[in-house]
């Protein structure tokens, strides 16, 4: 058992592609750390650098109190579960699980004890003599876990372990992994791009974009206090709404009308001109079902479409955005791997709401949950830094504008490397 401390880790691939850029993450002993981000943001690369399958271009990788940069994978004593499980097809389930023990030259009695203990934990007892090719996806997944837990590894590393399973099995295995990690109390780094996995499993979550750490915080902190537009848009489903906004005093002008925000938020953004307001769908409600005593503002809008799901209903309200905001939102959509941007507001209404398509409805909004972002840098101006974990761009000595510029440079280098690889 050991802590993993990544200090200013950089990875440039042979073709010049900067996959990981100056990432520092400290994983405490016994902590469950999640790495998330859109496809190609360098999650797997980072994980493979921890385990030793990829060289580290610069920075220090500390496991416990050892610097492991130059150690081979076998000397790092970590266990990894691969995305496609990487089971040895020529060995039985038993021998697959026993493989690390045999390499460590354990005597056959110890091997047998440990393998049977692992197979009991993972309910693999009746499959021990079978070959991986004959197992179902979930069973293979468990064999891969078995191979990881038989060893007394210092940490577990997972690279999207559940992405090959169907939705139901994924849920089961997710709680299985959570249970196992709690039971063994072992340091874990887990790569995923599944929201639910990130939110439910992680003690803390590291959000990456283009190989740059955006925010490192608990799931709740990420959700309530995103450091920038990217994190705000990435965490949460359906995603946060982004609207053009101008602030005067305590009044925010949105495309649908004016709403009032708390004074402390207003103070942080005084005199900033055009901003982007971020409001989660569930911060809205049908005004007619809201308890009158609740704080908040209301506005009227024409509903374009309603999706009723029983317990909630999603209503869609289109709006117009000025070009400066639109451009930033389009960029954001590209970064998030999203489909083309539709400038519409998604609001989540109570299931009992009677709002229907083409209604001119009165919508209530909880403005205390609103965040305001700088359209140029994407920085969250109304962030509560006390409850936001680590946001590298907003740390002492960092300037969000500088960070935005650095990100553009990385983006350019990545495009250049990708183009030269194509040509």
């Amino acid at each position: 058992m050991a802590a993993i401390d990544m200090k200013n880790i950089v990875k440039k691939y042979g073709d010049g592609f900067p996959a990981v850029n100056d990432v520092s993450i400290d994983v405490a002993d016994g902590e469950f750390m999640i790495l998330v981000g859109p496809s190609g943001c360098g999650k797997s690369t980072l994980l493979r650098m921890i385990v030793g399958l990829e060289d580290i271009t610069s920075g220090d990788m500390m496991i416990g109190d050892r610097r492991v940069n130059d150690l081979a994978p076998k000397e790092r004593n970590l266990a990894m579960v691969f995305q496609n499980y990487a089971l040895y097809p020529h060995l039985t389930v038993y021998e697959n699980i026993a493989f690390p023990l045999r390499l460590a030259k354990a005597d056959s009695k110890t091997v047998d004890e440990k393998v049977r203990a692992a197979s009991k934990t993972l309910e693999l007892d009746e499959h021990l003599d079978r070959k991986p090719a004959n197992l179902s996806g979930g069973q293979r997944q468990r064999v891969a876990m078995g191979r990881a837990i038989v060893r007394d590894a210092d940490a577990f590393l997972f690279d999207e372990p559940l992405s090959n399973l169907d939705a139901k099995l994924r849920g089961q295995m997710r709680s299985e992994i959570a249970r196992l990690q709690k039971k063994l109390g072992i340091t874990t780094v887990y790569v995923t791009h599944d929201q639910t996995e990130a939110m439910t499993l992680g003690d803390r979550v590291a959000v990456l974009k283009r190989g740059i750490l955006q925010q490192l915080a608990s799931p709740r902190e990420l959700y309530t206090n995103p450091g920038n537009l990217f994190v705000a848009g990435f965490i949460g489903s359906p995603p946060m709404n982004f609207l053009p906004a101008t602030v005067e005093g305590n009044i925010v002008e949105l495309p649908f009308g004016k709403v009032e925000i708390p004074a402390d938020k207003a103070a942080k953004v005084a005199g900033r001109g055009l901003l982007i307001a971020g409001i989660r769908p569930e911060a809205f409600e049908d005004a007619s079902v809201v308890d009158q005593t609740r704080q908040g503002s209301t506005f009227r809008a024409k509903i374009d479409q309603v999706e009723w799901l029983g317990n909630t209903a999603y209503a869609y309200i289109p709006f117009e955005a000025p070009p400066e905001v639109l451009e930033q939102l389009q960029q954001l959509e590209r970064d998030l791997d999203g489909e083309t941007l539709r400038t519409q507001l998604v609001v989540s209404l109570d299931g009992s709401s009677k709002v229907a398509e083409d209604d001119d409805a009165e919508i209530w909004v909880d403005t205390s949950q609103m965040h305001l972002f700088d359209p140029a840098t994407g920085e969250n101006l109304t962030i509560d830094l006390e409850r936001a974990g680590r946001v590298p761009a907003l740390e002492q000595g960092h300037d969000p504008a500088q960070q935005a510029k650095a990100e553009h440079e990385v983006a350019d280098q990545q495009t250049a490397a990708a183009e030269s690889a194509d040509g």
Binding site: F82, N84, A86, Y88, R151
Partner: protein, 276 residues
Amino acid sequence: MRKLGTAVGCVLILLWCLLPVAWIISLSFKSQTAITNGSPGFLPKDGDGAGWQNYTDVLDNEQFRRAIFNSIGISLIATLLSVIIATLAAYAIARLEFKGKKFVLTMALAIAMFPVVSLVGPLFDMWRTIGLYDTWPGLIIPYMSFTLPLAIWTLSAFFREIPWELEQAAQVDGATSWQAFRKVIVPLAAPGVFTAAILTFFFAWNDFVFGISLTSTESARPIPAALSFFVGADPFNRPASLLAAGAVVSTIPIIIIVLIFQRKIVAGLTSGAVKG
């Protein structure tokens, strides 16, 4: 009706393939005199049969025993070396990016396309000067160089099929690169390794041109060459039935090898080894 057609077709093809073999077996059981006198018919006539006599004669023959020994030794060593080198080379080609990879592959193909006869002359001269003429290595080297290209191509195709992650998983599990190669990659590539081994062994065992040109005495002469030098008691009358017995005996090792390796190949393929 269709079943019948298939059966008839099979029988015809089998006849076509196996008739010469059957014929040589029949010859090997006839006595020398019967053959000299002309003995038509598949089965030996009364009094023409020689029983196992030809076989005991062949096996008692010092020359023949030497030749068998040479052939087995040379072919096995050539196969072993060729498979080991081909496995390592194919692994490098499949896995590593290095300068001159294309060059190695094209050269390998080019060598495989060289006609054997065109090399025999120069090799004869070279081996005489170096002192490899009429020795085992003198045959092993050309056998290897002609079988390596095919072996490398076959094996690198097999290696490419094996997911790289298996090897990385092994390394994370605590294996050195060498252990990962030996315990995971080689077992998975086993069908390929055995295919390469069979191909090499066939080539070495059946070769006649090198065998006859690069040897002069019993010290290295392999069976195909030895059979052509085989003279019985009467130098003017080639002992056809003895030769037939010799030919039959010399196919036995090949059959054994194929049976052994074939089982491995089939076992490997059916266990879904190369599928992730």
